[in-house]
Amino acid sequence: MKPWRVVLAFISLLGLAILLSLTTGTSHIGPAEILAGDPTTLTILKNVRIPHVAFSILIGAILGMVGAIFQSLFRNPLADPYILGVSGGAALGATLSIALFGALPWMGAGIGSLIVIALITLIAGWSRGTSAGFVVLLAGVMINSFCGAIILGLRSVISAQKSQEILFYLVGTLSSVESLDSTDLGLAILVTLLTLFISLLYAKDLDLMLLGDQEAQSLGSNPDRIRPILIVVCSLSVALAVSFTGLIGFVGLVAPHLVRIWVGPRHRLLLPLSGIAGALFLCFADVVARYSFHFFETILPVGAVTAIVGAPVFLFFLKLHVGASRGQS
C-alpha cells in the first residue's frame, strides 16, 4: 500500500478514536447531551474526557515511537519502551513513595526513572560499536529485575491497601490524568514533540544502523555518537510517561510491529507512524476501559485492556502478513 494512504488511514482512525473517546464514558452522557451543553456535561468533558483523550494520545505516541526506536537500536523485536530499566526505576520510586510517604507515586516514579537513566547513560559509555547496544540492553534487564525484586519485598512489608495501590500503578492507569493541569499537559506535548523531532532527525541513521555499525559508518553515519543521544532522549520521554500513567504495557511493543507490517522498516515512515499507531491504540483502549463500567460496574485498568485487546489484534495482523508474504514469494 502506498505510504501516504497508510498515513491517511491511521490519522482517520485516530480521529475516530478521539471522537469515540469524547462521546463515551462511565456515565450515560453521549453526543446529545454534549450538544445540549448542560453544565455537568461540560464539566465532565473538561475534567475527565478531554484530559483522557489528550494524554492517551500523547503517552501513546511516546510509547509507540520509543518502542520502534528501541526495537531498531537493540535489534530486538521484543524490545519495548521499558526495557532499559526505566520502568523498574519508576516502579521502585513509586513504590517507595507510597510505602514511605503514603502518596505521590508519580513524583517518586519520576525521580526513580531519572536515577536509572543516569545509571544507563554511565553504562552506555562502557563499550562501543555494535555490542554497545547489547551491553545496555542486558544492564536494563538486570535493573528491571532488581527493582522488581525489591518491590516484591516491599509489598510484603507494607500494608495491604498500599500494596494494592502499587499494583494498580504497576499495571498502568490513565485515571491520574484527571488531576493533572495545563503545565503537565504542556510538558507532555513538549516531550512528545521532542521525541518526534529526534525520530525524524535520526531516521536515516537508524536505517543505516540496520546494516551493522561498520557498514553504517562506511556510509557516513556515526552510531557511537547517535546511540547514546537516542537512549537518553527516549529514556527521558519514557520516564515522563511513566510518571503520569504507570507502566502501560503492550503499546510500545505492538504498535511498531503493526506499522512495520504495513510500511516496512524505513524509519522515516516507521517512527512517526508508530507514534500515531500508539496514540490510536491507547486512546481506543482507554475508551474500552472506561466504557466497560457499563458492563462490570467498574473501570478496567487500561494496562489490562491494552493486553486483552492488543494480543488478538496483533496475532490477526501477523497471520495476515504471513499469509501475504507466503503468496508473494
Binding site: 456515565s27 450515560h28 498500599k162 488531576s179 463500567f293
Partner: protein, 218 residues
C-alpha cells in the same frame, strides 16, 4: 496475649507484645517460640492451610469469620466459647449491641459514597462491611451493584454526585472536583482514624461517626 499480628496497633499496650506477621502469612517459627495455648485468626482463603500447619506443630487454632456486622457482634461470645476464662464477654456484647442499635423508620436514606483511594478511584461496593454499617446507621451506599471494590473515574463520580462522601483514603491526594454537591455543601467528610474501618470492638465509634455524618432525621 503472647503475640499479635503486625497490623495490630490498639490499644497502645499492644505495642509491647511480640509481632508474628500478617493475616495470611504469619511466621510459624515465631509463633512456636511463643508457646501459645491457642492461636486465634481471621477466616480467609489461607486459613485452612494455616490451621493444618499449626496442627502439625501441635498448636491449637481457631478461625473466626469477621466479615459482617453480625460477625463482629458475635465475636466476644465466640471467644468466650473457645476460651472459657474470658471475662466481660457478655458485657461487651451488650455494649456493642446497644451502641449499634439500627436506625430504623427513616423517611429518606442519604446516599453515601466511601472512597478508599483517588488515583485510581477505588470505592466501597455492595456487600462490604462499611456498606452494611452505613445501612444500619440510616443511610445507603450509593453503589448498589457490581464488585466489592469498583474503580470509578471522575466522570462517574460527577454523574453519581453523591450527597455525602466519606474519604477514607490514606495520605494526601488530589482534591475532589468542586462541581460536586458534596463539595459545595461541605459534605465531604474525612475519617481521621482509618483504624475504625476495620471490623473490631470499636465498631461503636465507627457507627457514631457514621450517624453524625449522615445527620439522620427521622
Amino acid at each position: 496475649m503472647v503475640g499479635v499480628s503486625k497490623f495490630c496497633n490498639y490499644p497502645e499496650a499492644v505495642d509491647k507484645i511480640p509481632k508474628v506477621g500478617g493475616h495470611t502469612d504469619p511466621d510459624l517459627e515465631t509463633i512456636i517460640a511463643l508457646h501459645p495455648t491457642l492461636v486465634v485468626g481471621v477466616q480467609s482463603s489461607q486459613s485452612e492451610k494455616m490451621q493444618a500447619t499449626l496442627t502439625k506443630a501441635d498448636i491449637k487454632s481457631l478461625w473466626l469469620k469477621v466479615e459482617t456486622v453480625d460477625d463482629v457482634l458475635a465475636l466476644p461470645l465466640a471467644l468466650k466459647k473457645a476460651i472459657p476464662e474470658t471475662k466481660g464477654a457478655d458485657a461487651l456484647t451488650k455494649k456493642m449491641k446497644s451502641e449499634l442499635s439500627p436506625v430504623d423508620d427513616i423517611k429518606e436514606r442519604k446516599q453515601v459514597l466511601v472512597v478508599f483511594g483517588v488515583a485510581p478511584m477505588i470505592v466501597a461496593g455492595p456487600g462490604t462491611y462499611v456498606s452494611e454499617l452505613i445501612k444500619r446507621a440510616g443511610g445507603e451506599n450509593i453503589i448498589q451493584d457490581g464488585p466489592a471494590y469498583p474503580q470509578l473515574d471522575n466522570e462517574k463520580l460527577l454523574s453519581l454526585n453523591p450527597p455525602v462522601i466519606i474519604d477514607v483514603a490514606f495520605g494526601e491526594h488530589a482534591p475532589f472536583p468542586n462541581e460536586l454537591s458534596a463539595y459545595k455543601n461541605k459534605k465531604i467528610v474525612k475519617l481521621e482514624n482509618l483504624d475504625l474501618m476495620r471490623p473490631s470492638p470499636r465498631i461503636g465509634e465507627m457507627f457514631t461517626f457514621l450517624k453524625k455524618t449522615l445527620e439522620v432525621k427521622k
